[in-house]
Amino acid sequence: MTSRTLAAAALAAIALLAAQAAGAMNLFAPTVSNSGVLDGGSIDLAGTIHDPGGNARPWVGQLYAGEGECLRLAVSTSAFDAKLTVFAPTGAVYRDDDGNGDLRPLVKIGSAPVSGWYTVQVAQFNGLPVNQPFHMLYGRYIGGNVNCANETVPLIVDGAGADAKAAAGIVDSGPEDPAAP
């Protein structure tokens, strides 16, 4: 009996460790859906933001998409007012606050710029600490799929801080300094 109890406690501890680390792990949807249903074929990820001591610590994960695919990320349930920020490997940034209605964010990347892992941050919209669970639907679709209609526009460098690449409408993919090593 004691052995069983210990074994159960051990499994619980391992599961807890895995759950705590899951927020920053790489997650992969193996299928690229052609569903015409919004969020059809998506994977439902359950996460938690746990901010002790007045410090905000966003949930961060890396989710895979192939070049040219539609990548859709929708916070579907939330006990807090969430915001999504997504970085492509190219540095292109997509951000949304309330696009999914009812204070829930939705990012739709119509044509993923490269094949790789996209960094996804879920946080309270104003950066305050929260202790709440959430659900996020992660779906990969074929390019042009209705799930990426009205896609999220990437952020830009603006004003005095604009660099030559951004001013030319290029998101950090232009020629680099040839004199550099």
Binding site: V60, P89, S115, F125, G127, L155, D163, D177
Partner: protein, 174 residues
Amino acid sequence: MKTTLIASAVLAAVGALAPGLAGANDAMYDSSVSTTTKIGGSSVTMNGTLDDNGIFAEPWVTQLYAQASECLRLAVTTTNFDSELVVAAPNGTVYRDDDSGGSLRPLVRIANAPSTGWYTVQVASFSGAPTNANFTLKYARYNLGNPNCATSTTPLSVPHGVVEPAKVAAPAGR
């Protein structure tokens, strides 16, 4: 005796799992807020590696701590590839730089950190191409107004003509 063996095995399993998971959930903390005026002074040096398989780009990602109103400086100081830094504050403000550190090295200077908490930091090839190379990132927190954050990095913004919906008041109970 049997119980002891099981307990030992369990603890060993947990211990073995923990270091493996730590790398995927890194959060690093500079315990000091420096007032040095030396550029890059009092930085914490981190060595990282991008280890892509040649097909899929997997940026290096971590979370670094700063408090509201501090100067947060992140500089890639050595690299074998043309890297780019992207940093998101907990409130969603995003800073990106490609070459401001010179010699294809990115440098992000957040003069007045908007939130107290963990800032998501991504290091990747500027083009998003898969990369196998090492880099060094220097991370430091300074007092507000410190010269280490002179010429602050401009946060990214929504393009002209695109309207970011105004915040709707949260319903009662949220």
